[in-house]
């Protein structure tokens, strides 16, 4: 086993060169290069974290703007609905007023017409009476040769007309 057989003659060389080369490894690679490699990793991690944070901030801002837009949109919609409702109400009220005025006019016309019809009827009836009275007088004179006074004839005609 050379490890033991050669121990006396080689241990100093082994230890010496190990210290030399492991020392170089430690000071040049371990102390000099590894921190830079790790620094690069840390930088990259930092950059990724910063980018993610920026993206998140941008998304939050977008959300906020969307929210504001939604609120405004809702307000606009409400305002538009209010205007529509108001216009509707106004239109309804106006048409109601107009309808009422028209109704009043029509009612008045109807009333006038009725009055006129009633007058005309009364007049016509009076005429018919007068004609009937005269006719009754004539008929009685002709048939019976009796002369009937006008008041009597009128009374008789009225009686007959009242009976229909």
């Amino acid at each position: 086993m050379p490890q033991i057989a050669q121990l006396a003659e080689t241990w100093s060389s082994q230890v010496f060169w190990l210290l030399v080369f492991f020392g170089i490894t430690f000071f040049v690679i371990g102390k000099g290069m590894v921190p830079k490699v790790m620094d690069t990793v840390a930088q990259r991690d930092g950059q990724i974290a910063a980018d993610l944070a920026a993206a998140k901030a941008a998304r939050d801002a977008a959300d906020e703007q969307e929210e504001a837009w939604r609120v405004k949109e809702n307000e606009n919609r409400a305002a538009a609905q209010a205007i529509v409702a108001k216009a509707k109400e106004e239109g309804a009220r106006k048409s109601e007023t107009k309808l009422k005025a028209a109704q009043t006019r029509i009612d008045k016309k109807l009333a006038d017409a009725e009055t006129r019809i009633a007058e005309a009827r009364t007049a016509a009836l009076a005429e018919v009476e007068a004609v009937a009275v005269e006719a009754a007088q004539d008929i009685v004179k002709t048939l019976a040769g009796v002369k009937v006074t006008k008041p009597v004839a009128t009374k008789a005609v009225k009686e007959q007309m009242a009976h229909g």
Binding site: A8, F22, K31, M33
Partner: protein, 263 residues
């Protein structure tokens, strides 16, 4: 025939050979620092690791494959330390990363099948002189951090929280021994795992060679199954190379956690 007898010594692969002679490297009596094949593979490991991490230094915002690979290794160590130690674990990333990657690359480079082109990889993590030193470094860090942060209060590590008072004289020595065994278990585990795997591969390869030399029948009966088994064991060894590096780094971070946070 005897002269051509293939002789496979499974332990020969662990032999340390000075590359540029060893006489002029004698610093003092018994203290020789000859540049050996072991040192050469430490150099190669360091260079390959340097090139690997250098490829991850492009510092692009959107990483390429290479940069991604390096970053996932640093992230892996970072996560491990944060999970075991917490926020204070960050400052140990350079050390634990160096430790993990150095052991991992050494293990993997030692497994490269470069023998087919005449270069024999040397797995220096299969020497307890190496793993022992790494374990002692980790253990020293634990001791230094522990006494630096907690002073003599660090000794309360040996009295687990909630121990009844009469049990303290019994528990404390046991805890102390288990604490002192840590660097040995840490160093030996890696050394044994790496050596065992390489010995196993070498033994199986000797079966293949000897079986084939003994004739076609033995070659089919012994050599072929051994070869198939070697393929499987190679895959297993790749896994072990990663797991042992991970275990070393994980245990180091657990021990540092004891020093940072006590119990």
């Amino acid at each position: 025939m005897a002269a051509e007898q293939a002789k496979v010594d499974p332990m020969y692969q662990f032999t340390i050979k000075p590359l540029g002679g060893s006489e002029s490297w004698e610093l003092a009596e018994g203290f020789n620092i000859a540049f050996t094949n072991s040192a050469l593979w430490m150099l190669i490991t360091t260079v390959v690791l340097f090139v690997f991490v250098l490829g991850g230094m492009r510092r692009e915002l959107v990483p390429g494959r290479w940069q991604m690979m390096v970053e996932s290794f640093t992230g892996f160590i970072d996560n491990m330390l944060e999970a075991n130690i917490g926020k204070a674990g960050r400052k140990y990333v350079p050390y634990v990363f160096s430790l993990f990657m150095f052991i991992l690359f050494a293990n993997l480079l030692g497994l490269l099948p470069l023998g087919v082109i005449g270069i024999h990889p040397f797995t220096f993590t299969s020497h307890f002189t190496i793993t022992g030193v790494l374990a002692i470094i980790s253990f020293s860090i634990v001791l230094i951090v522990g006494f630096w942060r907690h002073g003599l209060h660090f000794f309360s590590l040996f009295v687990p929280h909630g121990t009844p008072l009469p049990m303290v004289p019994v528990i404390a020595p046991i805890e102390f021994i288990s604490f002192m065994v840590r660097p040995f278990s840490l160093g030996l585990r890696l050394f044994v795992a790496m050596m065992a795997g390489h010995v196993l591969l070498e033994v199986l390869s000797s079966f293949v060679i000897d079986g084939t030399n003994a004739g076609a029948g033995f070659g089919l009966l012994v050599g072929l199954p051994s070869f198939l088994l070697m393929i499987g064991i190679c895959a297993l060894e790749l896994l072990v190379a990663g797991i042992q590096a991970y275990v070393f780094a994980l245990l180091t971070s657990l021990y540092i956690n004891d020093a940072e946070n006590l119990h």
